[in-house]
């Protein structure tokens, strides 16, 4: 197991959001977490990354207990986060944003940069553009590419479909599938059923800060099952 989360609790100030999340991710697995707005998806991601302190439970990454470690230590250990809203550095160029992906390593590996740009051809001609001047979809691609520049073992992907045109979504699905071949593991939180079904090997349901069920991607295609579990419709 690359990631083992046990009874994880967290929240903002005195407001609890996660009420004991337990899940695990195998090496090379793509795990989906499906839930409505406000169910704790982003809080889960931020707590896993170390931006929010855990108020209970444990997070083990590659067998190590990282519950008390700060975000940058987890990043150096091989945990990557593509955050909600993408968090592109607006006043850095696309190239500089990508170079920041390598900020944790001793030297900048320009071959790696070329390799990753090969996966995202759309970014090639934007290298000198300011990050803040990109469209939402381009920013999402850049956020993914930047995360990959850090060569993570496990990528946490927070609602990548938010505000993105469908053509780029397909590109993202294809790219991530290609990365699975290279041994990347992924935790994806989403509310877009089609996207999560296309990528995930299994899908957990999060409700009110707890994992309340598990579905296979096939079951996601059945609107009645989904409605029963999450109260979501495919429409």
């Amino acid at each position: 197991m690359i990631l083992e989360v046990d009874a994880l609790r967290s929240g903002y100030g005195r407001i609890p959001i996660l009420a004991g999340v337990t899940l695990s991710v195998a090496e090379g697995e793509f795990l989906g977490v499906l839930g409505h707005n406000g169910m704790g998806k982003t809080t889960l991601m931020n707590t896993l990354m170390g931006h929010l302190p855990a108020t209970g439970g444990t997070v083990r990454f590659k067998g190590q207990d990282v519950t008390q470690q700060p975000a940058h230590t987890r990043a150096l250990a091989g945990l990557g986060l593509v955050p909600q809203g993408r968090q592109i550095f607006p006043d850095l160029t696309v190239q500089e944003n990508l170079r920041m992906g390598m900020a944790g390593s001793k030297t900048e590996d320009l071959e790696l940069l070329d390799d990753i740009l090969g996966l995202f051809p759309r970014l090639q001609r934007l290298l000198d553009r300011r990050g803040g001047a990109l469209s939402g979809g381009e920013q999402q691609l850049l956020a993914l590419a930047r995360c990959l520049c850090a060569q993570p073992k496990l990528m946490l992907l927070d609602e990548p479909t938010e505000g993105i045109q469908p053509s780029i979504l397909e590109e993202i699905v294809d790219t991530l599938k290609a990365l699975r071949e290279r041994g990347l593991s992924l935790v994806l939180v989403e509310q877009n059923l089609e996207f999560i079904a296309a990528l995930s090997g299994r899908v957990l349901i999060i409700q009110k800060g707890m994992i309340t069920g598990e579905l296979s991607p096939q079951e996601l295609k059945n609107p009645e099952t989904v409605a029963e579990f999450v109260g979501m419709t495919t429409a």
């Binding site: 150096l76 006043d91 850095l92 944790g104």
Partner: protein
């Protein structure tokens, strides 16, 4: 003609001194939104480091350009570790704490060295412009200000450390997500800002009266320059120093040096009223 050259030199000198005395404050404010009210005392410590080194027999250039910035830089790192790092994101608290720190530094220095003026003589001679005499130290200060700004630009724009510093400035959490420890970047930045203040203090030692309370004479000017310039470290600093230095020297020439200062502060108040986020908040948004 001669008088024009002399006034021109005064303007250049006024701008250069503003750049030098404000640079450290600008770096610390621009990068971390900490207003360091002990900035004047950092200048003073740089000046003392220079004067004491020279009287101990050290070459004045080494004292000004090496010992002063290194010493004050180290002081800065210690201050950051012991005080500032608990205050990020708390603007008012940080102002109060650094003001307290400034009192401690002034008190400590007075206790050790006494409340008397010490000094070093200017290492460069003078030169003649027609009937007027001017000091070679003025163009030297301008050169140092230019070098300092160029160094800041090159480091921030072209080095990896500069890239990381800019990224942390824009989004510290995201930088941490990519493996950068923002606390270390803050510590280094505060140290570098302090070292720049130390350098300025060292350079001012030959032309200013070096007393424990000398910082008070500079903090107000440095403060309005940084606030007038806004958060863009380089362009804010250059534009505000250029504007205020010019106004100050021309006003001093047309009236008296005392009125020159008054007019400078009035100009600053008007500027900040019109551009609350500073010159760079309006014209150089997102630039270095």
């Amino acid at each position: 003609m001669d008088i024009a050259i002399i006034v021109g030199l005064d303007v250049v000198s006024g701008i250069a001194s503003l750049v030098l005395i404000s640079a450290g404050l600008a770096v610390i404010f621009g990068m971390m939104k900490i207003i360091n009210l002990a900035h004047g005392e950092f200048l003073m410590l740089g000046a003392y480091a220079t004067v004491l080194s020279v009287s101990a027999g050290v070459n004045i250039w080494i004292a000004m350009l090496v010992i002063a910035p290194v010493f004050v830089g180290l002081v800065g790192v210690i201050v950051e570790r012991c005080l500032i790092r608990f205050l990020y994101g708390r603007l008012v608290d940080s102002m109060l704490a650094t003001w307290g720190l400034s009192l401690v530094i002034v008190g400590g220095t007075t206790m050790i060295f006494g409340n008397t003026i010490v000094g070093v003589s200017s290492p460069l001679g003078g030169f003649q412009v027609g009937a007027y005499q001017s000091s070679l130290y003025t163009p030297f200060l301008a050169l140092m200000a230019l070098l300092l700004m160029t160094a800041v630009f090159v480091v921030m724009r072209y080095t990896r450390a500069g890239l990381i510093a800019r990224a942390v400035m824009q989004n510290p959490d995201m930088a941490a997500t990519l493996g950068v420890n923002p606390a270390r970047v803050y510590m280094a930045t505060f140290g570098i800002g302090a070292a720049m203040s130390g350098l300025a203090g060292g350079l001012l030692a030959p032309i200013a009266g070096v007393v424990p309370t000398m910082g008070a004479a500079f903090i107000a000017k440095a403060f309005i320059t940084v606030v007038g310039g806004g958060t863009s470290i380089l362009w804010g600093l250059i534009s505000a120093s250029g504007l205020f230095g010019f106004i100050n020297q021309i006003a001093a020439f047309l009236t008296t040096p005392v009125f020159g200062e008054v007019i400078l502060f009035i100009a600053a108040v008007i500027l900040i009223r019109m551009l609350p986020t500073g010159i760079s908040g309006r014209f150089f948004k997102g630039r270095l």
